[in-house]
């Protein structure tokens, strides 16, 4: 069972807020970027939903190296040392599961919404 520290909650809330702001800003415009923080062997937030065309950037804030590897081998980062970043632009709607290939207990998903107006899922 994972203990959630107050600091982590704040970070998550900020990330969610950033996403919400991004979503607002992106109405009718190119998708805004989104960020995922890697902290304490976890992806924060673990699940994000973005619009097609969004570039997601992962930042490693841990003292250990991590990777971002798509389970379906759609994308894979080089090993990220502390402070390193990896970005991937999601254009096709769908749910992308990923994990850290060094510490496979670390998992996350990026869900790309259908293009605006469409209601059906992928």
């Amino acid at each position: 069972m994972r203990t959630i520290k107050p600091g982590m909650c704040v970070v998550t809330a900020l990330a969610v807020a950033a996403l919400a702001a991004g979503a607002l800003a992106s109405q009718g415009a190119p998708a805004a970027d989104a960020g995922v923080q890697i902290d304490q062997y976890a992806f924060l937030p673990q699940r994000i939903t973005v619009k097609p065309g969004t570039t997601v950037t992962w930042t490693n804030d841990d003292d250990a190296p991590h990777t971002i590897a798509s389970s379906a081998k759609v994308f894979k980062s080089r090993p990220l040392d502390t402070g390193d970043k990896f970005s991937f632009t999601f254009t096709t709607p769908g749910t992308y599961a990923y994990f850290c290939s060094v510490h496979p207990q670390m998992t996350g998903t990026v869900t790309v919404e259908p293009a605006s107006g469409a209601g059906a899922g992928p």
Binding site: T3, A64, T67, P79, H103
Partner: protein
């Protein structure tokens, strides 16, 4: 530590083991007639008569690591090597249970080689996940892969003991633990076939082959199959690294033991939100880093395993 009566001794022994976990001694392994034995305190091993076979385990050097938990991991590796050079009983060889480097960089492998070779012993390696960060595991295999199969597994014999180095850090699956894979398991089955059940076996791999704490990835998905092949042997010792702390478990004829790191400690399972480098007070660091000394003696069932901290 002294004790006046049996009851006190029982408590003290427990206490010693408890202290060992946190004091971070090295591990001296003695293979004695088949089954590994932990003598617990260094003095006992030093006093012991010359043993059949003594070897040394070092682990998790993380050369290149320079974060607050230990800004100079190369320096503490050198201290460990100096400790090995000063041992009164010279080991026959060293095994390194992986995470030689922190980021699989050529310069990190070079630095590790430069320091470890100063001990002037043969070193048998298995990789940790930090040593195989390049996609095709080329950097590790170019240096240590000669005579090995797959990602670097192999076996050898010394003084009647059969040693098996396994790789459980490649091709890891999402949400999973360490992984040996079918090809390596088939090789293991064949490697053990035809060997007398009385042959003492020492298995070494990076990630523990028992479920230490799966939530942190501290276990190996398909270890049960490997242990199944080892079941008929009278003495099996499994040496691992990865968790940077000493833990021991005995299950039937199998003794599991994990070693200290020479670079930095990690939290005990469940005592922190996640695994990872643990910052301790500067003057405490060397008491939670160390090496492991193992001795095998013919006619005795267990190996003597002695953990030796860099300091304390």
């Amino acid at each position: 530590m002294t004790s006046d009566h049996d009851e006190a001794r029982g408590v003290s022994r427990r206490k010693i083991l408890e202290c060992m976990t946190w004091a971070g001694t090295g591990v001296l392994w003695t293979v004695a007639g088949g089954v590994p034995r932990s003598t617990g305190i260094i003095a006992e091993a030093t006093a012991a008569e010359p043993a059949g076979l003594t070897f040394l385990q070092i682990s998790d050097s993380h050369v290149g690591f320079d974060k607050p938990a230990n800004p100079n991991a190369l320096g503490t590796l050198e201290e460990a090597v100096n400790k090995i050079k000063a041992l009164p009983v010279k080991p026959a060889f060293i095994i390194h249970t992986g995470d030689i480097t922190h980021l699989s960089k050529p310069s990190e492998f070079d630095d590790a080689d430069r320091i470890i070779s100063q001990a002037r012993f043969d070193v048998h390696y298995v990789p940790g996940e930090h040593d195989v960060l390049d996609e095709d595991v080329k950097l590790y295999r170019d240096r240590y892969g000669r005579g090995t199969k797959g990602a670097g597994w192999y076996s050898f014999d010394a003084n009647g003991v059969h040693f098996i180095g396994l790789v459980n850090v490649v091709d890891l699956k999402a949400g999973g633990l360490g992984n040996l894979g079918n090809e390596q398991l088939e090789w293991l089955e064949g490697d053990l076939k035809g060997r007398a059940a009385s042959t003492p076996i020492v298995v070494f791999a990076h990630i523990p082959l028992w479920s230490v704490y799966p939530a942190w990835g501290w276990g190996t998905e398909d270890a049960a199959r490997a242990l199944g092949y080892l079941k008929r042997f009278g003495s099996v010792t499994v040496l691992n690294g990865h968790i940077h702390q000493i833990m021991q478990k005995v299950e039937g004829n199998v003794t599991f033991h994990t070693a200290l790191s020479t670079a930095f400690p990690q939290p005990a399972p469940g005592t922190a939100p996640s695994p990872g480098p643990l910052k301790v007070a500067d003057d405490k660091l060397r008491s939670v880093l160390g090496i492991t000394d193992v001795t095998f003696k013919r006619g005795q069932q267990r190996l003597a395993i002695i953990d030796k901290p860099l300091q304390g």
